[in-house]
């Protein structure tokens, strides 16, 4: 898994609420058997018309906006548990998603793929949208160690929560499998006690 410590980047604003994972990656693209290449179809049906041409109105097709941070409306990632949504976001090149609220399963999936979900207050989220609207090149700093997100130009910052275990994993690029396997003895003891 990719390591994450600190990132400064411009951001892509997606001010839609309740973005579900069916929008992030539609079900018809879930037929792959590897994790690669999902970025191509990230937000497919918002990004492209049915004939395959670009939907110029969608923010991802607006060349003004770019960056490794996706700033999204409330309740991001609800619906289906498909980890393909996190893979698509990661594969497209995002390292951070900022929202005022995340659905549980998406949040976990993102963390398991080195994508940091940063939950901020609705007011701070609005401030981010406002600043990006004023200047598409607005730089945002995300510091995992300090658990702080900052608008570089104004200095307006906000703290965010992450549990210590996951923080350590992200900073070091560890994942849960190794940790779980290292507990096999305890797991077997649990099984024996239960039987």
């Amino acid at each position: 898994m990719d390591k994450f410590t600190k990132l400064t980047s411009s951001a892509l604003p997606l001010s839609i609420e309740n973005v579900d994972t069916d929008q992030i990656i539609p079900a018809r693209f879930l037929k792959a058997t590897s994790r690669d290449g999902f970025g191509e179809n990230l937000f497919r049906d918002w990004r492209y018309h049915k004939d395959g041409s670009e939907n110029k109105k969608f923010v991802m097709n607006n060349i003004t906006y770019s960056g490794k941070i996706l700033v999204a409306g409330d309740n991001f990632g609800c619906g289906s548990s498909r980890e393909h949504a996190a893979w698509a976001i990661h594969d497209y090149g995002f390292k951070v998603v900022v929202s005022s609220f995340f659905a549980d399963i998406f949040k976990g999936n993102a963390l398991n793929n080195g994508v940091l979900p940063v939950q901020v207050s609705p007011e701070y989220l609005q401030e981010l949208f406002n600043e990006i609207e004023k200047d598409a090149n607005t730089q945002i700093e995300v510091d995992l160690e300090a658990q702080k997100i900052t608008l570089v130009a104004t200095g307006a910052s906000s703290d965010f929560e992450i549990n210590n275990y996951k923080k350590t994993c992200l900073i070091n690029g560890y994942d849960d499998i190794d940790f779980l396997i290292s507990n096999t003895t305890e797991i077997e003891a649990f099984e024996n006690a239960k039987a």
């Binding site: 409306g73 980890e83 275990y165 507990n183």
Partner: protein, 460 residues
Amino acid sequence: MKKTLFDKVWDAHVVKEIEDGPQILYIDKHLIHEVTSPQAFGELEQRGVPVFRPDQIVATADHNTPTEDQHLPVKDVLSRNQLEQLTKNCNKNNITLYGLGHKYNGIVHVMAPELGITQPGMTMVCGDSHTSTHGAFGTIAFGIGTSQVAQVFASQCLLLQKPKSLRVNVNGKLKPGVLPKDVILYVISKLGTNAGTGYFCEYAGNVFEDMSMEGRMTVCNMSIEMGARGGMIAPDETTFEYVKGREFAPKGEDFDKKEAYWKTLPTDEGAVFDKEYHFDAADIEPMITYGTNPGMGIKISENIPVEHNASFEKSLAYMNFKKGQSLINQEINYVFIGSCTNSRIEDFRIAANYIKGKKKADNVTAWFVPGSQQVAQQIVEEGLKEVFENAGFKLRQPGCSACLAMNDDKIPEGEYCVSTSNRNFEGRQGQGARTILASPLVAAATAVEGKIIDITKQLN
């Protein structure tokens, strides 16, 4: 300390607590299907790690499978590849697979309960958010991502923070024609799609106590649509009766021992929940959705609310509905009865009961898709198939089908579908398709009338 049903089951499965971090939770049963498992098998292979407890895993093919001509090779190359991959992975790792054509094949959340794989007090996971369905048995069951599927493969455990607790109480007498689907659509319409995020939900009150297991599964199935990872209902006589005698249920003395334990699971009197809601059953009516998330629901006789915000307006624009509009008499060309929410025998009984002696509307294309081979069989045995055929409906073969349109069962662009499934997201049933969620009764009535009718007028 007074404990909730959730506490009791959770605490009995904690292997270890990590200081200032998550807990290691033991998983009793792991259900898998073709779509969210291949990358997890790949991950293990890449690491050279074996599957830790293959006998605690059960696999089925459901998401991708065609609902016609299942005896023939699957036409779609990518779907076929994914299905073949599942077979290979299961063979290689000694995992039981109920693939296409097997008498136990079906939607994962339909076949596991009906085989007695799902039992009270268990922890169960599957790479599918509707795993919450199994909570109907007093089981902690929830959907996981593919990385977590790999974790369970490798260790039969997951690293999790214990969620907060939420209880939804519905008491009183339901009106005629108000089904479990209406109850949960009503609750979600009141609480919204994220009220349950971070929580595990318990459904309590006489409305749930009086429900069949099928009804309870419909309710728990949609817990995730209000954001809750899972939903549970206390196991009782209805639960024990349902489980008893099923293929993989405990037998004889073993059953009695288990049953005695299951009886200790219901929430203690006076246990405290982090959040609690109360609803009156008499306020609930047959429900439909008008928007693009399951929280956007109204009583069938109500008008679409008038709200002023961009997301709401985007949603109505997608559906081509107007604020304040009634959906009564809205012409509907597609009807889907199926999905892990409503494809059990009871759902088809309800549909058949309404349809008996009537005819399918000419403008309607209807897909009736049983949740499993066993449900399909039962539909035939109970004479429901004949009722459907006499009315001009054709039964299809089991699978997830038009709920997520991964196979050929896609609703065309711009068309409305009254669907008994669980999600009305944009494009969920096909690119540009417009989904209206409803109960099997409302779906059956729509299929007969070719439009949405105020079913309450026929019931009262």
